[in-house]
């Protein structure tokens, strides 16, 4: 079984609740296709480093899971079709020897992710253009 992580950039108009639901839906897809989800986290809204379509900001979601690859195919199929999704990236992290051992490390990973992304607050990295600060349009 391989370990993968998928990061998704979705359109910014979602509430925190909606992005959590979205993460939940992705988790179900992985589990339906025989994968095991280790970590699913909503990373909050942040300003994009460049415009995608008309959006200058996006909702980031993160999913870490183990699968034989089927889950990746199905997940990416769904993401491709979903119009709310601006970008997604799946990376193979390594192979999972034992699900239990991997699970035991999850808290550590979550802490690291929280450290990198903060908790839901808006952070800007990269070029800070003089973009309108207000959301919408």
């Amino acid at each position: 079984m391989m370990e993968y992580e998928t990061t998704i950039v979705a359109q910014p108009d979602w509430s925190a609740d909606q992005s959590r639901q979205f993460c939940e839906r992705l988790t179900q897809i992985v589990e339906r296709t025989g994968g095991v989800v280790f970590l699913n986290r909503e990373l909050g809204r942040r300003r994009l480093a460049y415009r995608i379509g008309k959006q200058t900001r996006g909702c980031y979601c993160y999913l870490n899971y183990g699968s034989n690859g089927e889950a990746v195919a199905e997940l990416e199929r769904v993401l491709r079709l979903d119009e709310a999704v601006l970008r997604y990236l799946t990376v193979q992290v390594g192979s999972v020897v034992s699900v239990e051992t991997r699970r035991a490390k999850v808290l550590e990973d979550e802490a690291r992710l929280a450290h990198l992304f903060g908790t839901g607050s808006e952070v800007t990295f990269g070029m800070d253009e003089s973009l309108p600060a207000a959301g919408g349009t």
Partner: protein, 96 residues
């Protein structure tokens, strides 16, 4: 944080070829930071770390300047490109 040879780059090209050996600033090859500190894990999500390897315009700093070893420079390149794909880092500063 900025590398000192960065600004000079473009200007020195094509000038005084014959004296090139004399004019080259004496800089010690610095050790690869990522080799030196094994606790630094390069990850496309770690923007704080990645930003130390890109210029203000968002370009990847060459390893001749940053001092990275070949292996780590490739890792940096991969991580920066992944971060760009997710709009975490810019491709250029000229967009918008």
């Amino acid at each position: 944080m900025r590398r000192f040879r960065e600004e000079k780059d473009g200007k020195e090209k094509g000038k005084g070829k014959g004296k090139a050996a004399k004019r080259r600033p004496v800089t010690r090859r610095r050790a690869c930071r990522l080799c030196a500190d094994t606790k630094l894990i390069l990850d496309y999500k770690d923007l704080r770390l990645l930003q130390q390897f890109i210029s203000e315009r968002g370009r990847i700093i060459p390893r001749r300047v940053s001092g990275n070893c070949a292996y780590h420079q490739r890792t940096v390149g991969l991580a920066v490109k992944r971060a760009r794909l997710l709009a975490l880092l810019p491709f250029t500063s000229m967009q918008h």
